[in-house]
């Protein structure tokens, strides 16, 4: 059975970007630190993403993420990342939650669909993914999906740093408290810990 799985790298104090994030600075100042467990070095190619350098445990976690069958993200996450060039990984379908028209040209990207509700984005992605899981990305989508009860699992990559500023993953959660069940911890290279939780609906 397919599950929707939030995949985010975060500082211990819960930030997913550094300060001064923007369209040309999607990770914020110094935000690459949160992703070094998987991607590091000089960016290459049209998407501006550093090469994959994960090994060992980190590689296993990265490969799991890259074996998901669909991607759901928010408009900001997607557009500030240049739309991942229209293909996040392996040509899987991408569903972008947005109440507005696309802010970038997606006409040449057949994998990308804009959807105006989080519930629809999740259910369409699950259908598209078949037996595989759905990778979920972004803070805004996380809040809405948790409140709507359509996020099944969390895979957080907790990096040993206190950021103090930037965008928080969990901010303004519009719901009562949510109980979780921890299902896995993997200690990655370099001090990152991969914590996996199931959301108790």
């Amino acid at each position: 059975m397919s599950a929707t799985v939030l995949d985010m790298s975060t500082s211990i104090d819960g930030f997913i970007t550094g300060p001064n994030e923007g369209p040309d600075n999607g990770l914020g100042d110094g935000g690459h630190r949160l992703h070094e467990w998987a991607l590091s070095g000089e960016p290459s190619g049209p998407t501006g993403v550093p090469p994959v350098t994960a090994s060992g445990v980190n590689r296993k976690v990265f490969d799991e993420l890259m074996s998901t069958g669909a991607v759901v993200a928010g408009r900001r996450t997607f557009e500030w990342a240049g739309g991942w060039g229209g293909d996040h990984h392996d040509g899987v379908p991408i569903f972008i939650y947005s109440r507005h028209e696309p802010g970038i040209d997606i006409s040449e990207w057949p994998l990308v669909t804009y959807v105006d509700s989080v519930e629809s984005a999740m259910s369409e992605a699950k259908n598209a993914a078949g037996e595989k899981n759905v990778m979920v990305h972004g803070a805004a989508v996380t809040q809405l999906a948790l409140a709507a009860g359509v996020l099944d699992e969390l895979e957080l990559h907790v990096v040993p740093v206190l950021f103090g500023q930037g965008r928080r993953l969990f901010e303004g959660l519009d719901t009562d408290q949510i109980e979780l069940e921890r299902t896995r911890i993997l200690e990655g290279e370099g001090g990152v810990n991969h914590l996996h939780y199931r959301v108790k609906h």
Partner: protein, 200 residues
Amino acid sequence: MATVVADMSMSLDGFIAGPEDRIDEIFAWMGSGDVEVPLPVKTVMPAFRTDEASAAELRSTLDTLGAVVTGRRTFDLAGGWSGAHPMGAPAWIVTHNPPDGWEDTQVNFVTEGVESAIEQAREAAGDGLVGVAGASIVRQGLNAGVLDAVRVSVAPVLLGEGIRFFDGLENPPIALRPPRVVEGEQVTHLYYEVDARARR
């Protein structure tokens, strides 16, 4: 030399207390297990009841704890632990207005700020552990560069609102060393040493 450790339980979304200072879910791991760890001072509760891995962590802390530093808010919420901290160590409370009536107890009040409180606690702790608790005190300790380590016990819950553990850092980012990880039944204990560059 003493080791100064910020030690707090926190929800996965970063809160050490929920709305109206609720701590039930965050502290659940200390009271809901089969393994008993008796407290040296039993005024608040007689013992922790937890899982085996968490019990080992608590025993180790109790064995080495030499002093506690916390804030006035924590002290007041706990009713001053009736004058003796449950963990059995003398406590230093940072406050602007020391209350009367706590003479001849294990509680000391410090009006010169967090750094002074930690320095006094360090001297009292010898080679032991100085436990630092309370969001505001931890923040000031991190900003002053006087914390050696941070232990976060992560509870499996999202609270959505409340008091954040880490807020208002003045000189971020603060690098930490790769943690020691202890898997409790559901709680996750992460013990990070503060990188030397972020210490004084």
